[in-house]
Every structure is written in structure tokens, then in C-alpha cells.
């Protein structure tokens, strides 16, 4: 989980626009990985989660979004994992939450994957030659809808 947690934090910083830093916590509130100092991120993130949980006694918070003049803070829980992220002001909240959710789901499934669409021209299109098509015409026929 340690290496995958590091990878999740790295990927989150890479894919999300306006991201300043993020951390990943386990169910006990222990920091698994962070973009900065692990202890600092762990205590600060636990404080936010604690404040959100204390806001209502009946159930633990699933998602937190706090916007201040200096930046925005997001926290999301999924399958016993919590990701806390700090972004610039006026980021697109739905996109940040979607990125966090996607990474948490992948991490809970055991493997973090970069799901970004490839850049134009990055994936070579495999084309069959005329000889290959003549040799097996059925393979070249698109499947019926």
C-alpha cells in the first residue's frame, strides 16, 4: 500500500490543476503518503477530518470542502481511505472531487492507474496492410452493431 499511496499522491498532484499539495490517510488517521512532510500533513489533515466529524455526531463525514481567501481544501473518504487536498482558489470543485474519488477507488482496488486520455498522436494507430486484409478479410470487417 505504501508505494501505491505514494503513487496516488504523485498522480493527484500531476493531474489536478491548481493543486498545491495533498495527503493520503488510512482509517486510523495515519498519514500513508503526502506531497510534503508526512507528520505535518498527517496532523493537519486529521484536524480537518476531526472537525468535520464533530460537526454531526450521527455519522462520519464523507466529503469536506472549505474555501477561504487563501485557497481551498478538499477531503474525501472512500473504503477506509481519506485524501485531503489543498488547491488554489476558484478551482473547479467537481473536477477536483472527481479526481480524488477516482484515485481513491483505484487505490482501494489495489492499483492506481493514470486514467487521463492520451495526447493526440501519443497512441500509434495500428493499421493492417493490404496483404493482411486480403489474407483474412473477415478480420478487417468491423463487428456488427
Amino acid at each position: 500500500m505504501g508505494a501505491e499511496a505514494e503513487r496516488a499522491v504523485g498522480l493527484m498532484k500531476e493531474i489536478s490543476a491548481g493543486m498545491r499539495g495533498c495527503a493520503l490517510l488510512d482509517a486510523d488517521g495515519t498519514a500513508l503518503a503526502a506531497s510534503g512532510e508526512l507528520d505535518l500533513w498527517g496532523s493537519a489533515a486529521s484536524r480537518l477530518i476531526g472537525a468535520a466529524d464533530a460537526a454531526r455526531d450521527s455519522a462520519p463525514a464523507e466529503q469536506v470542502h472549505v474555501a477561504t481567501e487563501d485557497g481551498e481544501v478538499y477531503a474525501l473518504r472512500h473504503a477506509g481511505l481519506t485524501m485531503v487536498a489543498v488547491t488554489d482558489r476558484f478551482t473547479l470543485a467537481a473536477l477536483v472531487v472527481s479526481d480524488i474519488r477516482m484515485i481513491l477507488r483505484d487505490l482501494a482496488a489495489g492499483e492506481v492507474r493514470d486514467r487521463r486520455a492520451p495526447e493526440r498522436g501519443e497512441v500509434p494507430v495500428a493499421r493492417e496492410s493490404d496483404e493482411e486484409i486480403q489474407a483474412d478479410p473477415e478480420a478487417a470487417t468491423p463487428p456488427a452493431a
Partner: protein, 79 residues
């Protein structure tokens, strides 16, 4: 009969002033800090900074923003 030139100017200036005040009003609303918490099942609540819960959420968020540090400088030409 065409309107007098000074009236045309006044209308235009007051139109710009209305636009500017509406923009400032929208900007104030957008820039207002907020704290929202969502629980399992889709229930959610917003907490004002005046309440005890809201105050603690804002303090915790400010601490996290301090830990994250300033926004990295964007390369020249990047928006």
C-alpha cells in the same frame, strides 16, 4: 427627435456603472468563504464561520493551507 448628446452620455455612464456594481456584487458572493460537509447518503450542510463547527473547520483548513505552502509559480505564458 434625437436625444440630446449629454443625455446619451449620461445613459451610457449609468449603464456602465450598473454593470460594474452587478459585477462587484457577483464577485463578493463568489469570493465569500464557505465550509461544506457531506455525509453518507447525500445529506450535506454548510457551516458559517460564526458557528463553533464552522470556526473549527476554517481553522483546520487554514492550517492545511499553511502546510501546503504558497501556490507554485506558473511558467511564463501558462494561464
Amino acid at each position: 427627435m434625437p436625444p440630446k448628446p449629454h443625455r446619451l452620455l449620461l445613459d451610457r455612464v449609468s449603464g456602465y456603472a450598473d454593470e460594474a456594481s452587478a459585477f462587484m456584487r457577483r464577485r463578493r458572493i463568489v469570493r465569500r468563504p464557505f465550509a461544506r460537509v457531506r455525509w453518507a447518503g447525500g445529506e450535506s450542510a454548510a457551516f458559517d464561520a460564526e458557528t463553533e463547527e464552522g470556526r473549527e473547520l476554517f481553522r483546520a483548513a487554514a492550517h492545511l493551507i499553511d502546510v501546503a505552502g504558497p501556490s507554485p509559480a506558473r511558467p511564463r505564458g501558462q494561464r
